[in-house]
């Protein structure tokens, strides 16, 4: 699960749990004060009822009192009302409706003021009433015990409270999760970019002005990126400089060799030829190394021109066919859809050329290297397939590494130096394309996919 979701859910769960615990604790330990408050208010209410009853019986007589008491009985919440005299005789109400009230009535008679009592399922209140004839009575009320009202449930304000709490909790958790995970997400993006070869990636600025471990991590990432960048650029510069410097002695070697040939006797001629071959090989290697170093150095400044890829493929294939025929091999273009791409002609040409020459090198004599260019889903796809037996599956991904050799002995014999495919890969990548290798029909097939040019591009 995503870290963001995890943090969000955890915090939300924590808040929910906290609310439940608080409610539980309040219910358990705060009943006493709540209860005494309730008793006080019941007592006040009872005094008011009995006071009113006394006034009514004095002003309007017994009938008036009966009407008042009936009205009192019909009020909400549901209740029973009795009026009892000092002998326990009920003057109003059902005697059976209120039980176990004898003690309370006795207390009220003796104290002369309102008293309350509560049992499990009911609350009793009693208060004295004086009749005009001097007779003393006690007004007894019995309420059903109201279930304690839930804080969140069962009433409109409860739902509002619940909704508000949930909303606030959700928003807070969301913001918190965002605050914690957004720098991690940025770090992750930066790591990806760095891994993709964008060595100038830095992240501290994007993470912003926070002062915590994540900001420190971002700072450390930048330090690391800087170090990697300087290491890699210096290594690339070294490759480039070494190759560049090697050319001067090589140029002199070539000339000296030719002078030696002018002056040589027939005996030394074959060795001089050999020196020439080796020097040419060295030369080739250096120029490829330079091309590679340049491609790895700055892939951003690739030239952008509209190119007819079919023409390039046909051209390169024709050249390769010419060269291959000298060794009894052939290159055939099977399909060549019209494809326009945007990029550097030189780079794309060299990419296709390198792959094609590699294929020609490995395909057996009297066999054909198939070249096809097809267009699908906005991609121009060049496929080059030889019949050279392919490459072990686990080595396919390594093919594009510089100087990587699949079969040491075989490679030497065929004269490769292990840079062609590396150059092709860099060139294709510089065009934001992909190059892949797979084994097909007893041979290696290299597939180059490039974005086809959009209609209005350039």
């Amino acid at each position: 699960m995503k870290l963001f979701v995890k943090i969000f859910l955890w915090f939300l769960a924590a808040i929910a749990l906290m609310v439940v615990v608080i409610i539980f604790v309040t219910r358990t330990f705060q009943t006493d004060p709540m209860f005494s408050r309730f008793q006080r208010s019941t007592r006040n209410q009872m005094s008011i009822y009995s006071g009113t009853a006394t006034q009514i019986v004095n002003a309007e007589g017994e009938n008036g009192l009966r009407i008042y008491l009936s009205r009192l009985r019909d009020l909400e919440p549901p209740r029973e009302v009795n009026l009892v005299d000092s002998n326990g005789q009920t003057w109003f109400g059902e005697p059976a409706a209120i039980t176990d009230s004898a003690d309370l009535i006795k207390r009220t008679f003796s104290s002369g003021s309102a008293e309350t009592d509560s049992a499990e399922d009911r609350t009793l209140g009693a208060s004295p009433v004086a009749f005009p004839d001097g007779q003393r009575y006690v007004l007894v009320l019995q309420w059903e015990r109201q279930p304690p009202q839930s804080l969140f449930w069962g009433s409109a304000p409860g739902y509002w409270r619940l909704g508000g709490l949930l909303l606030t909790a959700t928003v807070l958790c969301y913001l918190l999760a965002l605050y914690l995970t957004s720098p991690i997400r940025k770090l992750r993006e930066a790591t990806h970019k760095l891994a993709d070869g964008d060595l100038q990636t830095r992240v501290a600025q994007k993470v912003g002005r926070r002062r915590d471990e994540l900001a420190d991590l971002a700072g450390d990432f930048d330090l690391m990126a800087e170090r990697i960048e300087s290491l890699i650029t210096s290594q690339q510069r070294l490759t480039r400089d070494v190759s560049h410097e090697l050319r001067s002695p090589l140029a002199r070697l070539n000339v000296a060799l030719e002078i030696a040939k002018q002056k040589s006797n027939p005996e030394s001629a074959p060795m001089l030829e050999r020196i020439e071959t080796e020097s040419a090989r060295l030369n080739d290697m250096i120029s490829r190394l330079l091309t590679l170093a340049k491609l790895e150095g700055g892939s951003e400044d690739v030239e952008r021109v509209r190119l007819d890829l079919a023409e390039i493929v046909r051209d390169v294939a024709a050249d390769a066919d010419f060269e291959a025929q000298a060794n009894g091999k052939f290159v055939e273009v099977t399909t060549a859809d019209r494809c326009t791409v945007v990029g550097s002609e030189n780079l794309l040409r060299s990419a296709i050329e390198n792959v094609l020459r590699n294929a020609v090198r490995y395909t057996p004599e009297r066999s054909v290297v198939d070249v096809s260019l097809s267009k699908n889903n906005g991609h121009a796809v060049v496929r080059i397939a030889d019949h050279g037996g392919g490459v072990p599956e686990e080595e396919l991904a390594n093919l594009f590494r510089p100087f990587y050799r699949v079969g040491e002995a075989r490679e030497r014999k065929t004269g490769g130096i292990g840079l062609g495919l590396a150059i092709a890969e860099r060139a294709v990548k510089a065009h934001k394309g992909t190059i892949t290798a797979k084994n097909v029909n007893g041979g290696l097939m290299i597939e180059i996919a490039l974005d086809a040019a959009k209609k209005d591009e350039l």
């Binding site: 001067s248 140029a251 390769a320 050329e353």
Partner: protein, 230 residues
Amino acid sequence: MDKILIIDDDEELCELVSEYLAVEGFDISTVNDGESGLKMALSGEYDLAILDVMLPKMNGFDVLRNLRLESKLPVLMLTARGDDMERIVGLEIGADDYLPKPFNPRELAARLRAILRRSVPLAEDGDEAHEKLDIDGVQVSSSARIATRDGSEINLTSVEFELLRELLREAGKVVKKEDLSERVLERKLSPYDRSLDMHISNLRKKLGARADGSERIKTIRSVGYIYTVV
């Protein structure tokens, strides 16, 4: 004997090349920096200059640019191997040919001979000497080795001049790449060699398109080129 000026900062290489080319029958002088190289090239004493790109004081491109302001001295550029840009820039600003360094000295000698042969005006009595071609405003005069478009001179290198002449001679017909390479560059067309295409592309730029926007020289893919006739 043809007098050749080598402008290259590698003194040892200059020595060796001088020794080799002396045997091949050239008269060689060498100079090791761009500024004095340009001065000597402008002196008019030489038939051809071999120019390296990386030079102290003034780089090869600047030397060539300055040289072309007042001289048509044939120039062969030594470019860094694997660097297409150097090659293209060199040809664009008026080098007659280029050779990637390190080079094969035999090839150097052959290229020098080819350039020299092209740059020498033809013998007075030859058929070609008085040849004048004129196709829709583009004129080529073999005796003066001058090409003009609507009366004004087009500044062409010797290779470009020869290419234009070959194409004009067979205007309206396809000229094969192989033939152009052999007749103009005096070497066999080898696979992956794109110098002919580059010369043609420079020639195209210098000629400019027709008034209606169409190209004068068209490419016939993997065959050759055609100078179109309207």
